[in-house]
Each structure stands twice: as C-alpha cells, then as structure tokens.
C-alpha cells in the first residue's frame, strides 16, 4: 500500500507540467498559479507522512516497483525506493521546493501569462525529475530524472527569451553538464553490465565485485558525473553564468537541489567510491579544491547572485570532501542544511535587490536593509548559516562535522582539513559582505516595499529552519548509518575561530578602502580564474574551427531563400561527402574521356552517310515501271535456274 504511495509523490508535479505545458486551453493567471502551487506543494503533502513514518521507525526500507521491462533474458523493474537517503533528501527537496514555489508565485507575479505557464511548467517538471533522482531505486529512473533536471535547467536559465546572454548561459550549462552526464551514463551502463540489473541495491555489490581496473573506471566515471552536475572543478564555470535565470530558479535548481544532486549521487554510490582509496582521495581533493576556489572567487564578486553561485560551488565542495573522507552521512547532513540556507539566501537576496531597484550588484544594495527589513533579517540568518556562525547556526554544526570527518581520516585528511579550514574562513569573508553593504545608509532613501506574505512566509520558515537545523545534523548522520565525528575540542574551536575570523575579515573587506579597492581590481578572480577563457581557447574555439573547416565557409553563405539559387548550396563544405562525389565524377570522367570524341559514334555516323549515298543510288533502280520489275524477276529467275542446273549437273 505504502509502496504505491511512494510512486505518487513525483506525479503531481509531472501532472502540473503536462497541464501547464501541453494543455491547449488558455488558462487564467490565477489558474496557472493555482495549478503550479498545487502541483509544487502536493509532493510535500504526500511525502511528509511517509517520511515521518520512516523516521519514527514505523515504516522500513521499501521498494515500490512501477513497471517491468523485459530486455531479452532478464527483466528490469523500474521502481522507487524509500530508505534513509531518499527519505531525507526527498523531504528536503519537497520542503525547499514548496517554499520556492510559494515565493515564485509572488516573485513572478508581473510576468506574462504565457511566460508564467512556461516557468511553472518547467519548475514542476524539474521537481518531478529531482524527486525521481532522490527516490530512484534503479539507475534508469535515476538517469531519467537526472537528465530531466538538465533539460529544465537549460530552459529555465534561458527563461528570458529575449536575452542572447541568457540563452548562451543555458546552453553552456547544458553542454557542461551533458559532458558529465555522458560519463555518468557510461558508469551506470558499465555497472549495469556487471550486475545485469539496474536496481541500485544490486549495482553497488556488483561494482564492488567487479575487476579492480573496471571498478576504478566506474568509480571515476560516477565521480565525473557528480563533478559536472555539482559544478565542481573543472566543470564549475557553468554555474555563475547560470544566474541569468530568474531568482527562484537559482534558489531551487542552482543551489539547493539540482546542483547538490552530484553529492546525492556520490552519497548513493559512496561504497563504490570508498572502495578505492585513490578515487576517494580524488573526490576529497576535488571537493577541497573547489571549496577553496569557490570561496576565493566569491570573495572577489561584486554581484550578489554570482557570489551566492560561487558559494554553492564552495559548499558542495565540502560535501564532496565528506564523501571522500568516508562520511556520506555527514555529507548528507550538509546537503540538507545547505539546501535550507542557500535557497533562503537566494530568495531574500532577490527581495533585497528588488527593494534597491532591481540591481544585483552588492555595492548598490545600500539601504535595502531599511526598505525590506524582514528579508534583510532572514538574509542575515542565512549568511550566518553559510559562514558557519558558531553554535547558533545549523551551518556551523554540519561544517564542523565535515571538518571533523576530515581530521579523523588520518594525516592526509588533516592536511585537507587545514585547507578546508581556510575555505571556511573565506566563507565568512564573503557571506557577510552583502549584509554590510545593505546596512549602509543609502545615497538617496529607498522607498519601503511591501513585503508580501507569499514572499516573506517562506523566508521566515527557512530562516527558522536554518537555525533549528542544528538539531537535525546529528539525527541525519545517524539515520544515514554514520556517527557524528567528534575530533576533539581543539578542532571544534579551530572551526569556530575560522568562522569568527571570516566575520572579522568581512568587516575589513567591506569597510577598509584598501581591501575594497583590491577586490574591485581582482578581475581575474572575479571571472572565476578565467577558466571560461581557457576553455574557450582550448576547447570551444578549436571545436568551432573544426566545425567551420568541415562545414566550410560555404555553409555560412548557404541560404535557403527560394529566390537565391546559390551554387554553394550543395554541401560543398562537407569534405568527406564531397570527396565521394568528386571521386564519382572523376571516375565517370576517366571512364568517358576516351570516348569524348566518340569513335564508335563517328564510324556509325560516317556509315550512315554512305548508306544515304547508296540509297540515292539505289532509288534509281526503282523506276516505277512494271516492265523493269518483270525484267528483274526474269533475270533472277534465270540466275536461279542456271544455279539449279549447275547443282544438279551430273
């Protein structure tokens, strides 16, 4: 009974998507909103009792089969499952999604109805995809959801149809994640071949039992998939530009849920990662490096959305670190906490920037704290959680757990711990910068905006959750089957000191003219170490050159206007195809060349001339006179008779 209840959870958003995207009837604005909100919140309503039942222990691990595929000799049963990971993650996703949906109803209020429909349709589809990822019991549903998220991400980033930049950002995000998705697909298919089953519960033991080399390849492929989706080094470049999408999209997709799905993937397949120390180390190193990189870049940002984007990159680095250190439960806890405070940050930043006239530049947020006090307050709570303000914020607890896990993982982990500690300090530096900026008195007083309850309600809820989430860290880790690492008081004090150092640093950076000027100058850092430029120079441009070379300059001129009959419109830029055509033409020419002055033809033509002359001569014989013919007959007869005589002679 419950099993099928589980299957129902992703259905409302899916239905909402179908209704909004494909339904041909014109819907009123209110109807669109109603459908979208109902579809967006229904999963929470459906899933909450299940999750509570699970946490209370009244429901055990369950697998709910949807339908069965029969591939040749073996069967594949698509299914959803309820276990610790899916219960926690799905609950987080549904909660955050509900908040974002409610917030979006206010945020998108001024959009055209058609755009609204598109927006909510895609948001709902995304939600369905995300829920399938976290609740999937088999790799097919998992990958289905995974790719759906990518697709929705593309469409939502390029939501602003008029902006070529938005489209370019969406395309970049799509391509980058797709590269990683290809690796993930390869990994999943290899696992499938090992296990001849797609059930995740079967895949993991099969992956562990696989030959060493192949198992490493699988683990690396899974890791690459996670890195791409989570915008970790070296795939991080797509996330900051993805902020071209509307704020709710950034809040839901590009911080709290979709981007963190990489971490979910690694947590799901953690045994495979941990089985190979090299891969685990690579995961941890990638995580730490990204954490530091993201924090450094975030410090240099002048745009609040980009700042938050880099902070997401950085925070997910912490999750990867935890996975690499063999503490997936801790990573899960950080995932939950991060989802709560990061969506909060994005949404309250959205309100603040709205209050200060629609800009997202940190510098120009001045005075928005007074125009939108509630949102500002919630932002402060969120920033504290992000920076890991000791004891009071949930972020501190989860980050401490990650750091502790690193310390307890041996000397190598302690080295990583040091680096991560630096990153944690930097987090504080950038997290509070918008706060100080917003607190400054405005150049000219901003009009106070009316903070709609639709927008503020979710903010207050999430802010509360970001504080109270402190109490969730322990239970989550335990539910996931881990233990909260306690690396000793010294380590925890170090963590607290780092957070406080970050707070001080942020004051320095915001108010010291020297440091502000430095940040203003740090263009390289702001542009994400110019990784984009490097990729452009080494990947995009060579690829474009190849494309242009292969499709030829002609293809650019190639036109399909009916009136213009362009000679180049013959695929001439297509070297291989053209080569075949030219080879054929050459062969035809070589074969026909000896016959071009066609000698046989000449002979026959000449002979026809002769025949005509002979005819002219022969027609003289035809006198038309009877006597002539009779004489000819007589002559012939005579010849025949003589012939016959000769033959019978003797």
């Amino acid at each position: 009974m419950l099993a099928y209840f589980l299957l129902l959870v992703p259905l409302p958003p899916l239905g909402g998507f179908l209704l909004l995207a494909l339904d041909p009837y014109r819907l009123e604005r209110r109807a669109v909103m109603a459908v979208a909100l109902a579809a967006g919140i229904a999963p929470l309503v459906l899933f909450l009792p299940v999750a509570l039942g699970y946490f209370a222990g009244s429901i055990g691990d369950t697998i709910a089969p949807a339908f069965t595929l029969n591939f040749g000799q073996f069967e594949v049963a698509l299914a959803m499952q309820l276990d610790a990971l899916s219960a926690i993650a799905a609950l987080t996703v549904t909660v955050v999604a509900s908040c974002v949906m409610i917030y979006a109803a206010d945020y998108m209020a001024s959009a055209r109805v058609a755009d609204l429909r598109r927006f909510f349709a895609l948001m709902n589809l995304f939600l369905a995809g995300m829920l399938s990822v976290v609740m999937a019991a088999d790799s097919i549903v998992f990958f289905l959801g995974w790719e759906l998220m990518g697709l929705c991400s593309f469409f939502l980033i390029s939501y602003n149809m008029n902006s070529p930049r938005a489209f370019a950002a969406g395309r970049k995000a799509f391509v980058m994640t797709r590269i990683a998705d290809a690796a993930l697909l390869a990994g999943l298919l290899l696992l499938f071949l090992e296990a001849t089953s797609v059930r995740i519960a079967d895949l993991i033991p099969a992956g562990l039992a696989a030959p060493e080399q192949r198992a490493v390849v699988i683990a690396v492929l899974l890791l690459v998939g996670a890195l791409g989706k989570s915008a970790q080094l070296p795939f991080q470049t797509w996330l900051p530009t993805a902020m071209a999408g509307p704020t709710p999209v950034s809040a839901l997709l590009h911080s709290a849920t979709m981007v963190a799905a990489g971490a979910i993937l690694l947590i799901r397949f953690a045994p495979l990662i941990e089985a190979h120390p090299g891969v685990a180390a690579a995961t941890a190193i990638a995580g730490v490096a990204t954490a530091v990189f993201g924090a450094l870049c975030a410090v240099a940002q002048t745009d609040i959305k980009r700042l938050l984007a880099y902070s997401s990159i950085s925070q997910i680095g912490f999750m990867l670190l935890a996975v690499g250190m063999g503490a997936p439960g801790v990573a899960m806890a950080h995932f939950v906490v991060h989802a709560l405070f990061k969506s909060l940050l994005f949404m309250s930043a959205g309100v603040l920037s709205h209050a200060s006239g629609g800009t997202t530049e940190i510098r120009r947020l001045r005075g928005s704290a007074y125009a939108a006090p509630i949102s500002f307050a919630t932002y402060v709570v969120g920033a504290a959680a992000l920076a890991g303000f000791p004891i009071l914020s949930a972020g501190w607890w989860s980050k401490e757990a990650v750091l502790g896990a690193a310390v307890m993982a041996g000397p190598f982990g302690q080295f990583l711990w040091l680096v991560a500690l630096g990153s944690a300090a930097l987090t504080g530096v950038y997290a509070y910068r918008p706060v100080w900026s917003a607190l400054r008195s405005p150049v000219e007083p901003l009009p106070a905006i009316k903070e709609n309850w639709l927008a503020v309600g979710p903010l207050i809820f999430l802010a509360t959750a970001s504080v109270l989430g402190s109490f969730l860290v322990g239970p989550i880790v335990r539910t996931m089957g881990g233990t909260v690492p306690h690396a000793g008081l010294g380590v925890e004090v170090m963590g607290a000191l780092a957070a406080i150092a970050g707070l001080i640093g942020s004051v320095v950076v915001s108010f010291s003219p020297v440091w502000s000027a430095r940040i203003k100058r740090a263009r390289r850092l702001r542009a994400g170490m110019q990784m984009d430029a490097i990729y452009y120079a080494f990947l995009v441009r060579p690829y474009r050159r190849v494309v242009h070379k292969l499709s030829g300059r002609n293809a650019r001129k190639d036109t399909s206007h009916e009136a213009e009959t362009d000679r180049t419109d013959g695929g001439m830029g297509d070297p291989v195809g053209t080569a075949t055509v030219n080879l054929g033409l050459w062969l035809a020419r070589v074969v026909t060349a000896p016959f071009v002055p066609d000698r046989f033809d000449l002979v026959t033509m000449r002979s026809t001339r002769e025949v005509r002359r002979a005819g002219v001569w022969a027609r003289r014989l035809q006198t038309g006179r009877l006597r002539t013919y009779v004489m000819a007959i007589a002559f012939g007869l005579g010849v025949l008779v003589i012939l016959g005589w000769g033959m019978t002679w003797g």
């Binding site: 040749g72 697709l151 797709r178 298919l189 499709s551 293809a555 399909s560 291989v576």
Partner: protein, 485 residues
C-alpha cells in the same frame, strides 16, 4: 496473401487516387488517408492473428519457378513495426501536404507508391524481389523530390538517383551471383543462408550488400545525397526520406548480413563499427555548422543512422536491440522535426537559422512541439531515442570501449546542435520573417501529437517495442553464434 496486401493495397490505392479528384474536392487526400488506414487495419489484423513462431505471417507464391524467383514475404515484429511506421507516415504526409495543389492527385499517388515499394522492401525475403523493390523504391522518391521540391530540385533529385541507383548495383550483383551459383537456382534468402560460402566470398558479397545499405542509411562517405535531397524535397518527401527510406537501409543491414554472411559480418564488423563511429561524430559536427535548418537535421540523421550501423555491427544483443529501437525512434523524431521545419518554411519562406527566431512568443504550440522533439533529438531519457542510443552504447561497452566512448561523445555534441537549432528558432526576438507567424493548425498539430506520443510512449514503456524486435534480434544473433545474454 495478407502480406502481399501490404504492397498491393498502397500500390493500387495509388492508382485509384490518381482518379480520385473526379469525385470531389480533396478526395485524393482523403483517399490516400483511407488507403493508408486500410493498410494499417490489415496490418493490425495480420499482427493480431499472427503465428506465435519466428514469423507472424509468411507467404510464399511461385512467380517464375524456372528462374527460382518467388514472392516470399515474411513478417516479424521488426517488419511489422516498419510497416506500421510506413502507413502511419503516409497519413502524416497527407496532412502536412494539405497546401500542395500542384498536380495533387499525382503527388498523393507517388506517396502511396513510395510506401508500397518500401513495404515491399520490408517484407521480401526472395533476394531478387527484394532487390527489385529496392531499386523501384528510388523512383517515386525521385519523382517526389524532382517534381514537387524546392529550389534546385532537379539536381538534388539526380544526386539522389545516381547515388542510390549506383549503390543498388552492388546489391544486385551480389544477389545475381548468389542466385546463379546456388546448386539449384534460387533467390530464397533462407535457402541461400544455408549455403556455405568461404569467408572471403562472404566478405565480397557483404560488401556488395553493404554498399547499397550504407548509401541508403547513409553513412559517411556515402552521405552526400542526403542533405541535398532533404533540403530540396517537399515536406512529405523529407518525412518519407527520413522516416522510411533511411530505415530501409537500416532494415537491410539488420536483416540480411547476419542471416546470409555471418562470417563475413564477423570479419567486417570492426570496420563497420569504425565507420559508424566516424559517421556519428562527423554528422554531428557538421550539423553544428549548418545554417539551413533542414540541412542541419539531415546531418543529425546521418549521425543517428551511423549509430544504427554501429549497433548492427556490434553483434551483441544490446547493440542490435538498440539499433532496432533507434530506427523506430528516429523515424518518429526526425519526421516530426521535418514536419515542423516544413511548416516553418511554408509560413516564412525561409529555413535559414539567421532569419528565424522568437517563435516562443508568436507560436507557442509550435515552440512546445519543437521543444519536445528537441529533447528527442538530443536523446533525453524518456524518449525512444535515448533508449536506442543507450542500448547501443551498452552493447559497445561489451564490444569495444573506444566505440562506446565515441557514441557517448555524440550525446554531448548532440546537445550542441540541438540547442543551436532550438536557440535560433524558438528563442530570441521575433525577426522580420517570424514576426507574424500563424501557429500550427490542427491538421499539422495532430500528426505532431501522434509522433510525439509515439516517441514518448516507446521511450517510457519500451517493453512493447523491445518485445516486437526480440525475434528479429535473436534471429540476427543466432548465425553469429551469440546467445542471448
């Protein structure tokens, strides 16, 4: 007898359609729809009443016994799927060419004949009759491009004709040789399959067969005819080319090389896979550089059909099943894309990506449809295209990881060209050509909905399709000595 109806009905239906305009306006259109619907019903009947063995239906009629020629028609799930697609696309073609008025009766008759000849290819197991239909199939398509095409239709039609006719010679030569050297003259594929050719003979014969199939597929370097043919063909011509004629090449590769030349296939398979791998990337890369929407889709077709070649040459269960699924999926998705581009061209008079844009604003139904098939083109999970490609990649992992890697690479490149296409057409500000754009009319929307439903249905519930294809896949693998996994 029921099977020959699949060929005779569209053929004589085509003849009847020629005279249909005398009975009223648009009668040729409704007549064609009726013929196709009748063909579908007959097909459905013979599938439902099919035998449970290797073949759903089997017909053997002597034609010229002294030359060993017979009409040997056999249908299994693969053929049935192809036949269903051909009749379905026939109906779609009628609806998308509602604006065609120039010699309309002839136009619809030619559509019927294209389908009749393609059905002949999908059913024949007498090699000579197969080759006969194979060559005959070129004629109606040639007429369709040459008479009702756009722009430089004559040269495109000639290119199509020359490529396919020349390639057909390879098939014909191999078939004649096999028939003539058989102990007792015969062209029965099942009898010839028993004959024990030396491997090098098999390789030569297979090269003859493969030439015809690969040109029709088409795989680089034999693909030069396809972009031109697609560009200049009328919408229905593009749909039939992409949905049907290309599939005959894939079908032939699927059916005959494993049956007739297992050793030769084993010997050539690596080269086939390498060629397929090359084609996958080459088509995808060239698609990225096109500015003509139809030409772009034509290159993606090359890429996707190269995946089919890889799958067929893979010689493992997954790869072959994937090739079969990909055939069906591509028939749906590419036909729909050509339909949409055709509608676009009819309204704006251009296919140039630089002149288009902003249809999201002016034509939401068009944009939504386009987005669905955009997803199919880049093999989004949930579409049948993904299933096909994923199965082929799985098979490639069993055979050779390098080929799998290349097939995976195509997944990435497909995003590049697909986003390019949708970005230029749906996104952006409306341009001069697209500022006023009439949204899809019902007679265009319903075919799109049907095709989209097919793509999604087979993507989400692939059981039906995989089950249909299984006997054919198993039969193809049997001579290769590969058991089911």
């Amino acid at each position: 007898m029921g099977l020959s109806l699949q060929i005779l009905l569209p053929f004589f239906g085509g003849l009847a359609v020629l005279f249909a305009p005398r009975f009223g306006r648009d009668m040729e259109r409704w007549g064609t729809v009726a013929v196709m619907a009748l063909t579908l019903v007959v097909l459905l009947y013979s599938v439902v009443n099919g035998d449970s063995g290797r073949w759903l239906a089997f017909t053997r009629i002597d034609w010229a016994p002294s030359f060993g020629i017979q009409v040997l028609l056999a249908m299994d799930g693969l053929s049935a799927a192809m036949l269903a697609i051909s009749a379905g696309l026939g109906i779609v073609c009628v609806f998308v060419s509602w604006h065609v008025t120039h010699r309309s009766a002839m136009y619809h008759a030619v559509i019927c004949w294209t389908i009749a000849t393609a059905n002949g290819v999908f059913l024949s197991f007498d090699l000579l009759v197969f080759a006969f239909f194979w060559e005959l199939m070129i004629v109606p398509a040639f007429l369709l491009i040459g008479l009702w095409g756009h722009g430089q239709r004559e040269s495109a039609a000639m290119k199509f004709l020359v490529f396919n006719a020349v390639a057909g010679l390879g098939l014909l030569a191999a078939v004649f040789w096999m028939g003539a050297t058989a102990p007792e003259i015969t062209f029965d594929a099942f009898v010839l399959a028993e004959s024990d050719y030396a491997t090098w003979v098999q390789v030569l014969l297979l090269l003859g067969f493969a030439l015809a199939f690969m040109v029709k597929l088409p795989v680089p370097p034999f693909h030069a005819w396809l972009p031109d043919a697609h560009t200049q063909a009328p919408t229905a011509g593009s749909i039939l080319l992409a949905g049907l004629l290309l599939k005959t090449g894939a079908y032939g590769l699927f059916r005959f090389p494993p049956l007739l030349f297992p050793d030769g296939l084993m010997a050539l398979a690596p080269y086939g896979m390498a060629l397929g791998a090359f084609g996958v990337l080459y088509g995808a890369i060239l698609a990225c550089g096109q500015f003509d929407a139809k030409r772009l889709i034509a290159y993606t077709s090359i890429s996707h059909m190269s995946i089919v070649l890889m799958g067929v040459c893979g010689g493992v269960h997954f790869a072959l099943a994937g090739a079969g699924v990909e055939m069906v999926a591509h028939a749906f998705s590419s036909s729909a894309l050509f339909l949409l581009i055709g509608a676009l061209q009819q309204r704006t008079g251009t296919r140039d990506l630089r002149d288009l844009g902003g249809l999201q604003k002016t034509a939401p139904a068009f944009a939504t449809s386009f987005a669905v098939f955009f997803a199919a083109a880049l093999a989004m999970p949930g579409t049948a295209n993904f299933l096909g490609e994923a199965l082929v990649i799985t098979g490639m992992f069993q055979v050779n990881w390098a080929f799998a890697a290349i097939a995976l690479l195509s997944l990435i490149v497909s995003v590049l060209y697909a986003t390019r296409l949708i970005g230029a057409i749906v996104f952006g500000k409306p341009k001069a050509a697209t500022a006023t754009f009439e949204d899809l009319k019902p007679h265009e929307l319903w075919p799109i909905i049907a095709l989209g439903a097919g793509t999604l249905f087979f993507g989400l519930f692939p059981q039906t399709l995989v089950g249909w294809l299984r006997p054919a896949v198993d039969a193809a693998l049997l001579p290769l000595g590969v058991g089911a996994p």
